[in-house]
Symmetry: C2
Subunit: 301 residues, 2 copies
């Protein structure tokens, strides 16, 4: 098959591209390299187009994996750019698919559910209460997919990601970009202090990048075309303290963590059901946090 992966030089995108290429598919990457990097695709045989997703002419293909996005962390600093890239980029993808007949898999975000304090686990019917422009824009993109299917028969199967982690995930603490596992690992490897917000009992649904990739590929291969959304998660809570302990054991790090003030608005717990993704796409996670972190530590050398 011939696939386009937008954001294919990014963290999740590059794992996806690599796996599709391994499976023998023809893959075209569209990435503006604002956060992606050529290093992520080293040794992978793909065509790479350095283009902006808002204006790029997406080539004819069988399927478009639409991962290109302005990151969540920047969305309050520049909501107009979030709208420009995330909303108009989605329209560009859908208009291309409308012309070519390609199926679209759009990677949305479980943050649409907001504070997640009503009940647990979260599922796709949980009320939409986005707390950042990024999450609101992901929500509206899901609606665009639905209406492009209903009006133009564009084929879509969408996913919402829980907290994805893995090797090559970008950490940039200067701009407040600190994904949990990657930030801890980076600091441990540099023998730096590790800071834990609050008491560290807050939990996340940690989903390994290869499970995220498995999920989007299964969504593409599924019969779902009506823009349904399935959550890609583990349905398991892992506390920040547990992440620290797992990493500590695997890296041999020996410095005690420093507990700081709780982060304002930090989620107390996060547990997301993947039942629907299982029914729709046949997704189920293959990696426990310990297994995922194990591979992540190994790959980071």
């Amino acid at each position: 098959m011939k696939y386009v992966v937008t954001g294919g030089a990014g963290f999740v995108g590059s794992y996806l591209v690599s796996r599709l290429a391994d499976e023998g598919h023809e893959v075209i990457v569209i990435d503006n390299f604002s956060n992606g990097s050529l290093d992520n695709l080293k040794g992978v045989d793909v065509e790479i187009r350095k283009q902006n997703i808002v204006t790029s002419k997406i080539p004819e293909c069988d399927g478009i994996f639409h991962l290109a996005t302005v990151p969540r962390s920047f969305s309050f600093d520049d909501p107009r750019n979030d709208i420009e890239v995330n909303c108009k980029g989605m329209i560009n993808v859908l208009e291309s698919a409308r012309e070519s007949g390609a199926k679209v898999v759009f990677t949305s975000n479980s943050g649409i559910a907001g504070s997640m304090d009503l009940h647990t686990p979260i599922d796709e019917n949980y009320p939409d209460r986005p707390t950042t422009p990024y999450d609101a824009d992901k929500l509206v993109c899901e609606h665009y997919c639905k209406m492009y299917h209903d009006v133009y028969d564009v084929k879509c199967a969408n996913v919402r990601f829980a907290t994805i982690y893995g090797y090559r995930q970008v950490v940039n603490e200067k701009i407040n970009w600190r994904p949990l596992v990657a930030t801890f690992l980076k600091r441990m490897k540099n023998f730096e202090k590790v800071y834990i917000n609050g008491d560290g009992t807050q939990t996340r649904d940690l989903t390994y990048v290869r499970d995220a990739v498995q999920g989007v590929i299964k969504a593409m291969n599924s019969k779902i075309e009506n823009a349904s959304v399935g959550i890609i998660s583990t349905n398991t809570e892992t506390s920040v303290n547990e992440v620290f302990d797992i990493l500590k054991e695997k890296t041999g790090y020996s410095i005690a963590p420093i507990f700081t003030e709780p982060l304002k608005g930090d989620l107390k717990s996060m547990k997301l059901s993947y039942n629907k993704a299982s029914e729709l796409y046949g997704y189920s996670p293959k990696y426990t946090p310990s297994q995922g972190i194990d591979e992540m530590v190994e790959l980071s050398g």
Copy 2:
């Protein structure tokens, strides 16, 4: 008080501006005149700025009535422009309010509820199922308001309009812009044939423009600041046939209507509860369809 009305030269906007000026308020209109017109503000003492809502510098004021919008009818033809104007325009309004402390009243649309076929009447908790980019963009704007309140303490009180009608409502059948009452009235006054899609039993919740204006002013004057949304409607169904009969009687039109094929995707019924707007803002409609149409016919001369 000093108010800014975006889209203040448009249909609803001009009624609002006129009433605010009558009440002795200082009013500044921001309008790009893509659909608004200077004629709509004839004889009204206001400052008018011909500016684009996406980039205009909104002056300091006590309150911003944000009505400027790209119309629903165009949103599938140019979804990118809908995003540009409706989403980024909202951010511009919210960022201005964040600086000035002005309260925002945003006029959203009941079309967010989509096909409205689950139960009746529709209320604010009805599932979000927008069927056009316009409605999806109105929905995301409501979310922006909510998060700007939660994060930056921007004061917002929002409304969703049912089907608004009144004198000066634009009809342009060439571009498929045919609001029910205004289109029928225009054709009757020109002794042209009136076309009814389907059997004419489909209903609308017809809300007179002065009630819409009453609603947004009450929202502004209310204590609500947390971006709550209240529907401005009449909680009454009026069928297309009834609209025809009322207008026929008031204009003396004597030609029989022509029934055509039902419009694809046309709503079968539309009835929206204004209970929440009543509780939050003290809104209740003052005009029955017959009364509103009566004034509309009279004003149209």
